[in-house]
Amino acid sequence: MAEPKPIANEIAASVTGPDDLVQVENLRKHFPVQSGFLASLLNRGHIPAVKAVDGVSFTIRKGEVFGLAGESGSGKSTVGRLILGLLEPTEGRVVFDGTDLGSLSPETMRRLRSRMQVIFQDPLASLNPRMTIGEAISHPVRIHITNQPDEVRRVVIEILNKVGLAPAEQFYDKYPHQISGGQRQRVVIARALVTAPDLVVADEPIAMADVSVRALLLDLMMRLKEELNLTYLFITHDLATAKYVCDRIAIMYLGKMCEVGPLADVYEYSCHPYTRALLEAVPVPDPRHRRKEPMPAGEIPSAINPPPGCHFHPRCPIARENCSVEEPALRELRPGHFVACHYAEELLK
């Protein structure tokens, strides 16, 4: 068995350099579970917690699209919210462009926040139905750029044109319900990008859009990334979409990272059994395609009592005895490609 390499390598997955925009170090977020008086008595005061994020380290480099993938409940959105400073970590830290978010005064945090924006999956839920599109986008402009009415309008019109909502003057006074779902998502994109942030956390940004509209939205996001020099944290459960946009990708399972590296390398030489299964499970729009490997047994266990050792071991086709005891550390198997599996070499053909 490969010796689980010491912590040095774990940090290596998050080596710091001048090109880094975000460093995430040993990040944890545990949510206490609501439980009744009786339950807490039974647990002798020990309050059970959902280990939504449980020791995650990585870096996001300036100008890249960093993908965060994994099944529902694996902790992707929680990582996103921790990076945005919307949640306090239980442990670990987030460093944004050299500044530790944990050390900031509320005032500095507010200013820093203008450099980070978020795009959520549901445009209807993230837009106020009683606010026109122009008003919705003006809001961040007034907070972060200028209060001068003419100037605000000019900036908003410009971004509306950029996201393809033209003629912009017409869209300016419309309400969310008067435009299509795809157009609404463009508004959400416009609102996130109007302050020219450094980092955009895109949490399933196209999941609700129509199939034929998705490609347009992705294209738009990628064009604006070049134009405005953005960096994306692209959260998705769709590995097929990730393939078209991400430079690097991290795969999460039950609050931990099981594999991270350059996208092409991870897809071609995936060496974590879970990544393998995920890649194999993606439906392929070609009737001639057949899945080759059987799917792992069972479903994701609860994040309150995750299995000991490697979280994936109860479903893993190559698990051995020590997998239920020893937690595998992330180690570098190929250049820049890290994996947390005791037997990863076996999957590396």
């Binding site: 034929s212 490609a215 590995l239 078209y244 194999e280 993606v282 439906p283 070609d286 009737p287 479903e299």
Partner: protein, 332 residues
């Protein structure tokens, strides 16, 4: 009706009366479902897939009504049955699996009780023990340990609930199962396993399945034939291999090229311009004409027929029809 057809929908129109006007969500649609096949019904949000699926069981509530058409199921026109006769068809002869099975399961009833009671509703003569035995056997066959039948729906995972719904359809010996986005809320690994299960059940029980989904990959994986809807109309129907290899309708062509494919080297997706129309005011002529890269003058005024292009590969597109061909010749 040919013997190999289990369900034949003829010129079905379904309307919703809304304050803004009448939405025709299914507009003069004809479709055959063959015995023992998995027919995939795809199309974008709001094109009428669920409305069509519900109409097959005459399951309409609120503002919806069937404005016309025939529903020939296994030899009889369901439109001619009285409302009293429908429950025997619904749920028994035609089983249902929805995106969120929580809505069709009773939250305060144990799964086992739900299964046995439903069986007894449709087969009053069956004993408790026999109904229970049948439930347990099927559920186990679908990979759920029988002890888990004593649980309530919320204690099960999404994938398990879907399997319970399918086992119910099997327990009632349904001839047709209509599954509306059954895997949409499932994770890919669970989805893959559920799709494998559907294929096994098709083989083992000769089950006929109408699989409604917006996921093109899912259709490619399990369907024998595929039906593509666009803006309340049927755009194309054919063998899944044929339609994917040689799509006839320009909408299908664009749709297939805009779907991400993890196995392809291609760096870019095709970008289809525009968006589906509002069904309150659909465009005249062919509904796809405002987005169609091959649009002809005639497409803006004349509605295409839904007609065979080659063999039983159907498409509603004037490119393959007399009116369109005439125009092509005129313009070189």
């Amino acid at each position: 009706m040919p013997a190999d057809i289990l369900y034949s929908v003829r010129n079905l129109t379904v309307e919703y009366k809304t304050r803004a006007g009448v939405v025709r969500a299914v507009d003069n649609v004809s479709l055959d479902i063959r015995r023992g096949e998995i027919l995939g019904l795809v199309g974008e949000s709001g094109c009428g897939k669920s409305t069509l699926g519900k109409a097959l069981m005459r399951l309409h509530t609120g503002p919806a009504s069937i404005a016309g058409g025939e529903l020939w199921f296994d030899g009889r026109d369901l439109m001619k049955l009285s409302e009293r006769e429908m429950p025997d068809v619904r749920g028994a002869e035609i089983g249902m699996v929805f995106q969120d099975p929580m809505t069709s399961l009773n939250p305060v009833q144990r799964i086992l009780d739900h299964l046995t009671e439903t069986i007894q509703t449709h087969e009053p003569e069956i004993s408790d023990a026999a109904a229970r035995a049948r439930s347990e056997e099927l559920v186990e066959r679908l990979g759920i340990r029988r002890e888990r039948l004593n649980e309530y729906p919320h204690q099960m995972s999404g994938g398990m609930r879907q399997r319970v719904m399918i086992s119910l359809a099997l327990a009632l010996r349904a001839k047709l199962v209509i599954a509306d986005e059954p895997t949409t809320s499932l994770d890919v690994i669970v989805e893959a396993k559920f799709l494998d299960l559907l294929k096994e059940l098709q083989k083992e029980f000769g089950l006929t399945i109408l699989l409604i989904t917006h996921n093109i990959g899912v259709v490619a994986e399990v369907a024998d034939r595929v039906a593509v809807m666009y803006a309340a109309k049927m755009a194309e129907v054919g063998d899944v291999n044929e339609v994917f290899a040689d799509p006839k309708h320009p909408y299908t062509q664009g749709l297939l090229k805009s779907v991400p494919n993890i196995r392809l080297e291609e760096a870019e997706l095709y970008k289809m311009e525009g968006a589906p129309p509002n069904l309150l005011h659909p465009p005249a002529g062919c509904r796809f004409n405002p987005r169609c890269p091959f649009v002809m003058e005639v497409c803006r005024t004349q509605e295409p027929a839904f007609a065979p292009v080659v063999g039983d590969h159907y498409a509603s597109c004037l490119l393959y029809q007399e009116a369109g061909m005439k125009q092509e010749r005129l313009h070189g």
